[in-house]
Amino acid sequence: MILAPVGWLARVLDPPLRALQRVGGRNGMAIFFVAPNMLIFGIFVLIPLVINFAYSMTGGGALFLGDRIFVGGEQYGRLFDCGNYLEPNSCREDLFWTAVWNTVFFVVLQVALMVGVALITALILNRDLKARSFWRAVFFFPVLLSPVVVGLIWRWILQRQGLLNYMIYELGFDPINWLVERNWAFAAAISVSVWAHMGFYALILLAGLQAIPKDLYEAAEMDGTRPARVFWRITLPLLAPNLLVVLVLTLIRAVQIFDEVYVLTGGGPGTSTLFITQYIYEVGFASLLRNPGLASAASILMGAVLVVLTLFQLGIARRGERRSAK
């Protein structure tokens, strides 16, 4: 019944499509169907990428590419002009290197925390607990929130006169300036982004846990295996493919961290939560000394890092496919 319009549509579309196939052949039809998608991909991804690369070879403050001066690799040279890469103050673009190292720290800590918390959550959700789908929804819910909303919620909670400090004060302790003190702000950036995305990764891991045959655990029980050994020798190795996927996905997302932290801390205090995407955004669009060429060069470099990570992920996915095909 519901499908009736579909059948009608198919009948109407059939003759012209057949005519087209006679003209273009089978491969022509394939191109015809893929073309709209390729068009969108080209306009919004491929062409901007090329333009971005062109921008990174130009200098000055002008916005239109035609008005800009070709400078070759000068912008890249400027980014890498550094006395000691570990010491941002010795670099010409000290903010860039501050953002790079902040991002590296953030990625290492956030990915470790994310994978750990997601794994623990998945293990708990995999138990025979009451109202399992309710808890699953609770942990997944933040994933559905817009990053800006996430940032706002946690700003209300963490700001000087926010919810958390109110509760701390009521309990008789001294309030802490969560978003103003360097280390607390950094910790807040990590925790909030973990809170916001953890549910998604926990779900991937939960699916992996549920795919492990129950009778392996029964065999282990017959074998008298202690729970810790069951975890290390059975659960973890069999979950490894899912863990690797989660690891790489969180890695890619963490490198790109921006929106929720930007709303939460604005990169502060000072530059202590300034990450690479925010640096690019500010140099490109927001700062007084706007330099689109420099921002483009930085984004091309970041893109290169992401390409490497993505290739790594694709490699894993393909290996997984081969294994399951066996």
Partner: protein
């Protein structure tokens, strides 16, 4: 040494009672087969004995010692799962060693036990492969090997042959019988296949809907089925059942006769049946017939020249009749 005693064992899942007051005494060293149609509770019963599940009520004892609340690993039993349940990411050797390592057995002894089991089961060439690289039959052996190395007091096997093809099933069945001889350990073997039960068992336990219908040696069950269910379940093709007034000189309300116990009559016929289908197998002839509209099956030795539509005369020996009362219980 392992004598397993079940006393009034019941198991319910929610409001559904799956096992009803099972009483059973499994003797030391015997190969006992639980047989019954799918869903009758065989696996559930085996899992209760294994300790993977707990009875809702009742008692399980091994060698007189109550183990109802004892953990699976501490019962000294080993299980062979229907799916084999081999650890897929470990080599065959690691699969065999895993349980022994749990028990903190010294390495040389582990090595020795693995070598012994591997020799017994002919899996030496595969010790360093993973289960995924083995055929179904080889995996099956590894699963049995994993049970053997633990040197258990009893083996529990849940439909161990059901994932093998027909030919392999028959040869593996024979090997299992030989293995039982050799290890002289108690074995509890679950199957839905009555032929498997008949060929392997010292004693058979027939289960239906969570109740024991009969316990006995294969020939006990064949010669003296306690009720209509066992009579119909054991023996292939299925026993013929007829109202007793169709067969002169019989007692009870229903009378059963096995298809193989009907003979073509030369002289005085006791039955006349109309042939509906003839299956000539060469060494025997399976005749489907109707006796006053009631189906009747006869398996006659050798080759016969019957055709559909013929009326044939059949006879039997009175001692091969089985009589059952209105409740379906055997009357002698």
């Amino acid at each position: 040494m392992s004598r397993i005693t079940l006393t009034d064992v019941s198991r319910s899942f929610g409001s559904v009672k799956v096992l009803h007051d099972i009483n059973l005494d499994i003797r030391d060293g015997e190969l006992i087969v639980f047989v019954g149609p799918s869903g009758c509770g065989k696996s559930t019963l085996l899992r209760l004995i294994a300790g993977l599940d707990r009875p809702t009520s009742g008692k399980i004892a091994i060698n007189g010692e109550d183990v109802t609340r004892v953990a699976a690993a501490d019962r000294g039993l080993a299980m062979v799962f229907q799916s084999y349940a081999l650890y897929p990411h470990m080599s065959v050797r690691q699969n065999l060693a895993f349980g022994l390592e749990n028990a903190r057995m010294p390495k040389p002894e582990i090595e020795q036990r693995i070598a012994e089991a591997a020799r017994m089961l002919n899996i030496e060439p595969y010790l360093d492969r993973r289960p995924g690289q083995l055929s179904g039959g080889q995996r099956q052996r590894v699963a049995i090997g994993r049970a053997i190395v633990r040197n258990p007091t009893a083996f529990l096997l849940d439909e161990p042959l059901s994932n093998l093809d027909a030919e392999l099933r028959i040869s593996t069945r024979a090997e299992l019988a030989a293995l039982h001889e050799r290890l002289s350990a108690t074995m509890i073997y679950v199957t839905h296949d009555q032929i498997e039960a008949m060929t392997l068992a010292d004693r058979i336990v027939v289960l239906r809907d969570g109740r024991i219908e009969q316990v006995g040696t294969p020939l006990d069950l064949y010669n003296k089925p306690a009720n209509l269910f066992v009579a119909g379940f054991i023996g292939a093709p299925r026993m013929n059942f007829l109202p007793s007034d169709k067969l002169p000189g019989t007692a009870g309300s229903t009378v059963g006769i096995r298809p193989q116990h009907l003979r073509a009559a030369d002289g005085k016929a006791k039955l006349k049946a109309k042939v509906t289908l003839v299956e000539a197998l060469g060494y025997e002839t399976v005749v489907h017939g109707l006796l006053d509209d009631l189906p009747l099956l006869a398996v006659l030795p050798g080759q016969k020249s019957f055709e559909a539509g013929d009326t044939i005369a059949l006879t039997y020996d009175a001692e091969n009749l089985h009589a059952f009362d209105e409740q379906g219980q055997r009357v002698d």
